[in-house]
Symmetry: C2
Subunit: 410 residues, 2 copies
């Protein structure tokens, strides 16, 4: 309880993100750019599509040639030629003239709209009846309608989705400027741990956190590097920590929930080069004993030993720091949320943010969130969970039937 006064709110921890520099810029081929963060704003080098395109099969005409046309009083036009796909027509259209055109083809000069084939009838090879009046611009994409030359098409910090990949392809960007992918070191501590490949002897368990954290890091678009299990002593821990800080962009040290081991970790962190212990305890449950230190301008996290606590601290606290050093400008609408109603009362303590694991269930009255009971030392609570429900710092609990936003654990 001695360091209770140091416990920071999640907001206080978040405000420290700017201490850590964004990674270096690099370039990747377009085929590898999906999910990456753009490292410079990009202007359109030309108009898109660059020419006047039809969006329907039919006839390119001047709209004025069709004014007043109807089923009972069709307009009669002369077919002047065919606008072929992927070619620039070698003729132009005047009043009273039409050109056959397919979706995607270029309108001939003089034409300002397309009449759907369904509203026409070709009387012979050169005579066309039109049954409906057309407006200028109808079924046409103008040369700069998608993007105009010089427009900023994408801004620095944008996370590239499939449509952004398509847009970059539209402008012929074979190589894309992006920020580097963070390399994140994962270290487990604990004399009770054995590597996953070994059968655990009495009193021992396999190292779960290394593998869970590696998967979470991959899901963030970053690259995990495992340093294995370090014995609970100052010297081994200090040596590995220093190597990990040197070789990576962030370090996650998990384990050491017991007071003695936590003291060893704090001591090892305190002796790193250019170091500072920034946070020692976060008002979050599960996950309160989390530590944030810095060395060589890199973040080093001390995460709880229980896998559920570690996962929640990762998702709610560490992940925004990974996004920050990745250069991501705005991850606002990147998390998956579902609205649901709680199926039972849930208690919470004031002065901390609680994350309740819930299972979702579809009912006639909409989605229902069933709280999952069980200690945070049990991985089964996370395996059963579809998502997390947050109970705020100053809320004592939530009642059965309360409307909640469930953040999905996808």
């Amino acid at each position: 309880m001695k360091d209770f006064f140091k416990v920071a709110t999640i907001e206080q921890v978040m405000s420290l993100r700017n201490r850590f520099p964004v990674l270096k810029r690099t370039t990747v081929p377009l085929s590898e750019a999906c999910g990456r963060i753009l490292s410079e704003s990009i202007a359109a080098p030309e108009n898109l599509p660059g020419f006047r395109r039809a969006t329907m099969d039919g006839y390119a005409v001047r709209a004025a040639s069709t004014f007043g046309a109807s089923e009972s009083n069709p307009a009669y036009l002369t077919i002047a030629g065919t606008s072929r796909m992927g070619e620039s027509p070698d003729f132009s259209i005047g009043n009273g003239e039409a050109a056959r055109i397919s979706t995607g083809a270029m309108l001939p000069d003089g034409a300002d709209c397309v009449v759907m084939v369904e509203h026409t009838e070709a009387m012979d090879a050169t005579t066309l009846e039109i049954y409906k009046s057309a407006a200028p611009g109808q079924y046409v994409i103008e040369p700069a309608e998608d993007f105009a030359k010089g427009d900023i098409i994408l801004s620095e910090g944008k996370r590239l989705r499939a449509q952004e990949i398509g847009l970059l392809a539209a402008f012929g960007r074979e190589n894309v400027p992006v920020f580097g992918r963070p390399v994140i070191a994962v270290i487990s501590t604990g004399d009770e741990l054995v590597p996953m490949m070994e059968p655990p002897g009495p009193g021992k368990i396999r190292d779960i956190n290394t593998h869970t954290l590696a998967a979470l890091i991959q899901e963030c678009g970053a690259e995990p590097v495992s340093y294995g299990i370090v014995p609970d002593n100052r010297k081994s821990l200090a040596r590995i920590l220093e190597a990990a800080v040197e070789a990576s962009d962030m370090v996650l040290l998990s384990g050491g929930s017991s007071v003695g081991v936590r003291d060893i970790a704090i001591d090892a962190l305190s002796n790193l080069p250019e170091t500072d212990i920034l946070i020692h305890g976060i008002s979050i449950s599960p996950g309160k004993p989390a530590i944030l230190a810095t060395s060589r301008q890199k973040a080093i996290w001390g995460l709880p030993g229980h896998v559920t606590s570690t996962m929640i601290v990762f998702l709610k606290v560490v992940k925004p720091f990974i996004h920050h050093i990745s250069g991501a400008a705005d991850m606002l609408f990147q998390t998956s949320v579902r609205s649901a109603r709680l199926s039972r009362n849930v208690a919470s303590a004031q002065g901390r943010v609680d994350y309740i694991r819930v299972k979702l269930r579809e009912t006639e009255d909409g989605l229902v969130a069933d709280p999952i009971l069980g200690k945070s030392g049990l991985i089964n609570t996370m395996v059963k969970a579809d998502g997390l429900v947050e109970i705020g710092l100053n809320v004592e609990g939530l009642n059965q039937g309360a409307a909640v936003e469930v953040e999905l654990l996808t």
Copy 2:
């Protein structure tokens, strides 16, 4: 209009999924298993954690030794030893006895609970005062509390998230049985298309769909294989289609929105081995002209030429087929949804499901969805969009202020 009667609902298309077999089973190392689909149910080979573990730092005792203890009337116990981390204690605890224990360590025989160090005071090396009564099981995880030997820990068809990776590590599964990753062929058609690397001449545009679809396929956890741009003629198309069907698990053919090109595509599809045109038109907008054919028990999709239409058919129709052949049992809570209110009226035609692109905006009254106007031939509508709002088959439109579920385009 001639084939209007054939237009299928999305549900009718979905009901065809079972025609397509799930991919073969394979095995991957645990480090590559995140996001993959489990291909067999897995039973716990042993209890987890396998021994009685402390979840707090303090003293392991028999609860009965503490009954009635309080600040004013402490219980006095004899410290019999220390339960060391990662070891099996070589002593047991009787009535009136206690063992020092750290979080994660094994309780000695005879102890049934842990008393937090904060509720105790060690008077000397062997005498302990306890100020609070403890219940059996307090701050303890029982040997089979997380999972019992023989329990099904994960079922076939489960998509593996970080916590499932952790669980498999807990049981020492170095290799994980999963279904194969679908290999999806991507073919573009259109005489107006040039490869991304080439400057488009007059009337031409770069091939956007190949790159957009490849990115969408990667986001699904599948592997795209590009066959490039095929000229709009029956013979070339038939040859490439047959090669693609042979070499991949599904084929996406995009382009050919114009009637002439669509006829060529239908003709080429009709002449494949063991072929059938299952769907010709879907009641979805944008995206109505989509085609589903089959050859050699594989799905072949004819997708619209406009990139927005192609993306929406992919997300709403093709993706569930990819999940099906991937062996995924339940992708129910995998999509990202946000509740919002529409900022303006949106019209829709009855008899089709409309997907409106929206941009999200946070306001004091919650999230607002601004519909994005613009033709489906424009990629900028998808680049601006945070998500899609569905307007159902028999709904004429949505009013300003309507509560909508926005499916995020992440």
